[in-house]
Symmetry: C2
């Protein structure tokens, strides 16, 4: 709101009516070049000699990537490509692969269970989704599977200085980003991939064509205005967002530090090139563990205290885990902290009896 | 451009940031109710007691419909659902079904070839795409397949008074519309379906969720402004668009009426309830036939005259057909008419020699 003039958008009724831009692509070159500038400024990704493809949020980009990296056809000579992710994982990968129900790929669960098998089973193509920082636990995950048949899709949605130290510009073969977790404009549905290989890029462009004939031009215009406003302000919006996330995390960590019943994920401090110093993490989510055997239905324990999280098993994990979101309003966080404090106080009370 | 004030859009930087609207849906209720009003005003569709789902252009809505109408799972007990359309058909239906490569459905070509087989083969589910008015030939197609296992997706993209007489409000189980062919704002990627069955509607909503977490809120806002401007002006924009399309069609028909080499599709006049009179059609595309045996590569014949159409076989038809688009600028149409006139004159010249 502090940058209302630079971030506001005015669109004439007849503006940008056609499918494509003047260069006949579905992608605004102005927006693409702004994205490259932003990655260079923040140091989040190498974009030189890389292709960029847009989608309706990272959601659409992720499925485009899965289709693009699957084998051309899974005829009888090939098994469907295995799609895996390390537990705990963002559930959308699984949902999408199962929903599309394509002969090209099958969701096969935890990447770790395939670690030793992948080399012996060299004929099967594997796609590993790597979320880094991870949703739900904020860790800077790396790929578990390697080898000639292992391909990775790095979901870099949270790889911005307000959520994590930035140890180096990411330089994986296929990286996915989203406006939603950069500026908070989830409703605009704008995501993009940075892609090394031209064939993979072309397949992703085809995916966008067949799925939705590209991304709304209104959305591209909005994203352009927002990213331009960010770049004009230098580090300001990141400073603001980092302070906000850090303060939320510290309040939560302080509250739960008094508890024997609940624990939080540990994220080690790391050098951040954007801030030129070692810094703590400030993750988007708390990955809360109920430590006691009798609390293994952790979701129900928190729900009884009117805290609605997301169950561990949604992330392929055990139900003694619950994810709590910190990308909510300050009001929501205040209420969360109050209710957690009450839970922790009750816990102390029980011990002192 | 004549309604620049009512159709312009201003968006604050922080406006509509979140995934959902205040009622926790991904769909603007204001926009939905405006769509119902528009259908009632123009008489294009029955929307009372119907559900409405939004997508990124009709493109995304069409694939959502195909997934929603396919059987829940195509286990060994079920064959994949057959997807068909009458030749000539809009190629996207085929492209999508083949691209997604789902175990749920298979593209099986021309609906007519399944007409007599469908009853005897009662265990197989069939989805028929019916484009009405049809792309490429502008005819008000009806479903070819009937029976308990036959479901239809009516693509009503061109069912507006500028492209066709409106004999009655459409009232099929599942009808798909798009802003692109209503106002021309293809770049905004906004389409919707009007759906009778709640289960089918819910499946389509799920599709949008898994695919892209709904439609860009920027796009929904833009569509709202545009549809509101249309309704405020009464019949004005339709009058303008009808006159424009009619004049294009008449110029083309006049030009080709002198030819023995090229012919155009015949569309019979029909009573239009919107205009309260019998009127000619004013289709979006010319479905040109090269009449002579030696011209059966019709695309090449026109290309030699620097007219780039779309080949008949793209629409499942023979290559003595070519589709020419009339939803282009006046400048493009002027050039097209000039070049066609030249072709027709040469034809006469050859005859007189």
């Amino acid at each position: 709101m502090q940058h209302s003039t630079s971030s506001a958008l005015v669109v004439s009724g007849w503006h940008r009516m056609s499918y494509s831009f003047n260069d006949n692509t579905l992608i605004s070159q102005h927006l693409e070049s702004l994205i490259r500038k932003l990655h260079a400024f923040v140091g989040t990704a190498v974009t030189q000699d890389r292709y960029i493809v847009f989608g309706a949020g990272s959601t659409q980009v992720l499925s485009a990537a899965a289709y693009a990296l699957s084998l051309a056809n899974s005829s009888s000579s090939h098994s469907p490509t295995r799609v895996v992710a390390s537990v705990p994982y963002y559930v959308l990968y699984k949902q999408q692969v199962e929903y599309f129900n394509s002969e090209k790929f099958k969701y096969e669960g935890d990447a770790h269970t395939w670690r030793n098998r992948s080399e012996s089973d060299a004929s099967t193509n594997v796609i590993e989704f790597v979320t880094s920082p991870n949703n739900p636990d904020g860790l800077l995950n790396k790929a578990v599977l390697h080898g000639p048949n292992a391909k990775t899709i790095y979901d870099r949605a949270y790889y911005w200085p307000h959520f994590t130290p930035i140890p180096a510009p990411a330089d994986e073969d296929l990286m996915v980003f989203t406006l939603s977790k950069l500026t908070g404009h989830a409703g605009s549905r704008f995501g993009w991939a940075v892609v090394k290989d031209e064939t993979v890029f072309n397949k992703m462009v085809l995916h966008m064509q067949v799925n939705s004939i590209g991304v709304s031009k209104d959305t591209q215009l909005r994203a352009f205005k927002l990213l331009k406003a960010i770049l004009e302000e230098g580090t300001q919006i990141f400073d603001f967002a980092y302070q906000t996330m850090k303060s939320k995390w510290e309040r939560l960590a302080t509250t739960l530090s008094l508890s024997n019943r609940f624990s939080l994920q540990k994220i080690n401090p790391q050098y951040c090139f954007f801030y030129n110093k070692v810094r703590e993490s400030s993750p988007a989510y708390a990955w809360v563990k109920c430590e006691k055997e009798e609390d293994k239905g952790c979701y129900a324990v928190l729900k009884a205290a009117t805290i609605i999280g997301r169950k561990g098993n949604v992330f392929g994990s055990e139900d003694n885990y619950v994810r709590l979101s910190l990308v909510r309003s300050q009001d929501d966080l205040d209420i969360l902290i109050q209710r957690l404090q009450k839970l922790v106080l009750e816990e102390d009370g029980a011990i002192s009896m």
